[in-house]
Amino acid sequence: MEPLYSIMPLIAVLVSLGVVPILMSSRSANVREAWTFGAAALKFLIVLSMLPTVLEGRVLVCTIAEVLPGVAIRLRVDALGMLFALVASSLWIITSAYSIGYMRGLKEHGQTRYFCFFALALSATIGAAFSANLFTLYLFYEMLSFATYPLVTHHQDAEARRSGRKYLLYIVGTSIGLVLPAMVVAYYLSGTLEFSGHGFLPASSSPILLGVLLFMFLFGFAKAAIMPLHAWLPAAMVAPTPVSALLHAVAVVKVGVFCILRVLTEVFGVELLASLNLGTAVAYVAAFTIIVASLIALTQDELKRLLAFSTIGQLSYIVLGVALLTPKGITGGMVHIAMHAFGKITLFFCAGAIFVATGKKYISQMAGIGKQMPLTMAAFFIGVLSVIGLPPTGGFVSKWYLVLGTLPADQWSMLIVILTSSLLNAAYFFPILYRAFFRQEDQSRNDVAVGEAPLWCLVPLMITAVGCILLFFYPFIFLRLAELAGS
């Protein structure tokens, strides 16, 4: 069906950008937070309003400016973009609430700046989701890199400075050093950068060149944290927890993975990858990342760092699923964007809630915490189930499709990787739960009576935990979108 011209995608991108001046000029925290909420809700509603059209199999298009011959800054809402935008915009609302609780609870400085750049980052995320071509995607990818720098380094201390450097070195270094030249070469080869269902790179190009290009894109989009370009992610955990939650479990890393999905399916195209056998190569890189990241996660004591390594592994599931090049695998990979987002954000929220309530960051300190913060730890349990991929949580659905995806591809090794990794996930998550629920807290510290985190923190994490369960029973919208995107 032919595309529908609409200005809605542009509005969806600009909504959060539009509130930045208001956020900057308002001196009152309440006004600022009200506007943040308003923008988040509005953005979600706009995204939602486009959902029926997309479910009909149509796409919405909005051209902003024709900047190079054959290349425009253009937004296009298709099924894959819609899937990602739905996840990001719905979780932004919840994260806004959580941010308020967290930032107020810890009396953080520079909250105006924080909310401004958060809004900017969300604009970039939705922009990336709705990009119609590689150039627009690159534009929003870079915008996101720079918009998140002040968030990652929010504490403005020496450690934040170091981590900020690492963050930029990896993210911007690869995007300029690898993606930019790859994009120029792709444009040189095909004269366009417009995404298309069958890819736009000419199949007649030299296979070696195509292979090199693919890996330049794969590693160039370092936000996907594919090894060995993953080290920025644990470093970026110095950020306040809501930043880690939304950006480093949902927006930033998912934008990286999303870019790779676009490159695999709409720059190269499934047929071209299959004919050159490049899918398998990508799958092996992803499989390596999955296993190694899980093994490293086993050794971590700081909860947020453990979650970071878990994220690195889970991101590669998505890449792996699509790299299998089977319909079920692609669906599984794409749905995993949503499922992992809900599971991981719950876990990050819990880690932050524990920190706000008790000031504890290390797993070894968390003995008996399940008794003090039962609701938080219950949500944590649900999040763990979802990330491992056990019913009744959404994570099971995507893992099911991933496993199914390996079968027609006759990729037994990949099946083994997925199952092994699930066991490893369980191996690093269950000891935390065991410690939290079944171990007594150290008597020496027992004099400090601590309860749950403030409601602003608690409610959001309950909502996302419930979301994980609901996604098990009602995954249909995401599944439908993923199937549409994969077909």
């Binding site: 720079f146 911007v172 300029i176």
Partner: protein
């Protein structure tokens, strides 16, 4: 009226200079309005010319009706129409920002400053508009001599730096004149089109080759093309802020234009590219310029001085892009004249604001600047992103064309140098941002937490507004790249490159 545009372009600021110098003696308050009037006139005329050229093709003008090759002949095609617009826009925006600095730094010299300012602009605009090789030399010297004087207005070592610049600049200009003289010996003409017409049978002549090489070296010296850049960092660093932000964006860009004009129109591409076959060597020189400019910038502790080395690297972009010898490279080089003029203006204006408030632009003065000078720093960030080449700022698009050109020409060294310099720019600017963002006020290493009080000490509005016009211009020009390339630059690409 409109047919006299090319002449008015030069005459308006020239006339203004008399009024300004007179006002400088009797009513110094009037200097600024006269300057604004003169430059606003040439700004409007240059935009009108650009419109005329876009709609009706190249325009030529014979002074007092004397025909070329005897009379002075001005010719405006798509290439110099664009450069004229760039020069007049940059000169005008910078003028608006200059007022506060002049009042603070040398109020007693307002008369001479504004007089020199418009004369400098006259020289630049004349160099770009003229179609006569010798006339170009005269105007080059007008711009150069006023430039030396403007730079010498600075404090401390400025006169010495200016003297250094005078020596090097004079050598450069003399080389140019020598080249033109050789051409005159063999062709008997000074009109550019006339020379081009007479030259083809003489390609074999050693005099022509010598003329070309000497002329190019002269032009390169004037634009600070590495390793002929030694005068540039000192001159631009020690100059007063409003002078740096005038000379740095414009002088080098106009010399790049002169290089392109001399090669394309006078010697023709047949001679320079096909007959001499120097392309590859010059692009490699540009690679060295880019890499060395970036590395030297890394070693600087003063923001303004660092920027001057970025200018050196950017000259490499444009020279290399042009000498790639293909359409994309040419487009990139010409687009970069526009973009780099705006980016450099943005950065130097921002640094000017910092100097205005802090007294200098050394790294030690930067801590806490994001808090105390948020608007200036935000504009500095936009300028930096453009230098790094982040879309949708304009810097990305010229870099894109240059990369594409390098790829088409198969010149991977140039491609790598462009990427390298982008990456170095990230380091350069984030080093500044880190100091401004992380290091607390007053140099105390206590925690920055808790104190949410805003101790904003910004530059005056008269400096902030031009800065922000430029910063927004960077984004707008980026978004309109398609239009600019499609409607102007594409028509300037020599037929041989298509």
């Amino acid at each position: 009226m409109s047919e006299h545009y090319p002449a008015l372009l030069v005459i308006l600021p020239l006339l203004a200079s008399f009024f300004i110098s007179a006002a400088g003696w009797f009513r110094p308050v009037l200097c600024f309005p006269f300057t604004v009037a003169g430059l606003a006139g040439s700004l409007l005329v240059s935009l009108g010319l650009l419109g005329d050229v876009m709609s009706g093709g190249p325009v030529s003008y014979r002074f007092a009706g004397w025909d070329p090759p005897w009379g002075i002949y001005y010719r405006v095609d798509h290439l110099n129409a664009l450069v004229l617009a760039v020069v007049s826009v940059v000169g005008f925006i910078n003028l608006l920002a200059a007022r506060s600095s002049v009042e603070k730094e040398f109020p007693e010299k307002a008369g001479p400053f504004y007089t020199l300012y418009v004369l400098f602009m006259t020289g630049l605009l004349g160099m770009v508009v003229t179609g006569d090789a010798f006339n170009l030399y005269v105007l080059l010297e007008i711009a150069a001599i006023t430039g030396y004087a403007l730079i010498a207005l600075g404090k401390g070592r400025a006169p010495l730096s200016s003297l250094h610049y005078i020596f090097m600049g004079t050598i450069g200009a003399s080389f140019y004149l020598l080249g033109v003289g050789y051409l005159y010996i063999v062709t008997g003409s000074l009109n550019m089109e006339d020379i081009a017409r007479l030259l083809p049978p003489l390609y074999e002549s050693k005099v022509v080759t010598a003329a070309f090489v000497i002329l190019m070296v002269g032009v390169w010296l004037k634009m600070g093309f590495f390793p002929l850049h030694a005068w540039l960092p000192n001159a631009y660093t020690h100059a007063p802020s409003p002078v740096s932000s005038l000379v740095a964006p414009l002088m080098t860009k106009v010399m790049v234009y002169v290089m392109i004009r001399m090669v394309v129109t006078v010697f023709t591409l047949d001679f320079a590219f096909t007959f001499l076959g120097l392309n590859d060597a010059v692009v490699w020189l540009a690679v060295v310029a880019i890499v060395m400019g970036s590395l030297l910038a890394l070693s600087e502790k003063d923001v303004k001085r660092m920027l001057t080395y970025i200018v050196v690297a950017e000259v490499g972009y444009m020279v290399g892009g042009f000498w790639l010898g293909n359409s994309a490279g040419f487009t990139g080089a010409v687009l970069h004249i526009l973009n780099d003029a705006l980016m450099t203006l943005c950065l130097f204006l921002a640094v000017g604001n910092i100097v205005h408030v802090k007294g200098n632009s050394r790294m030690e003065s930067l801590p806490g600047l994001f808090r105390t000078m948020p608007w200036t720093m935000a504009a500095l960030v936009v300028g930096a992103l453009s230098i790094i080449g982040v879309p949708p700022t304009c810097g990305f698009f010229s870099k894109w064309y240059l990369l594409l050109g390098a790829l088409e020409a198969g010149h991977y060294g140039f491609l790598a140098a462009l990427l390298f310099s982008s990456l170095v720019s990230v380091v350069l600017f984030f080093r500044i941002f880190e100091v401004g963002y992380f290091e607390p006020l007053g140099g105390s290493h206590g925690s920055a937490h808790g104190d949410d009080e805003h101790v904003v000490r910004e530059a005056p509005l008269g400096m902030l507004v031009p800065l922000w016009i430029t910063a927004l211009g960077l984004i707008l020009v980026g978004l309109y790249t398609g239009e600019i390339v499609g409607r102007v630059i594409r028509h300037a690409v020599p037929a041989m490159m298509l």
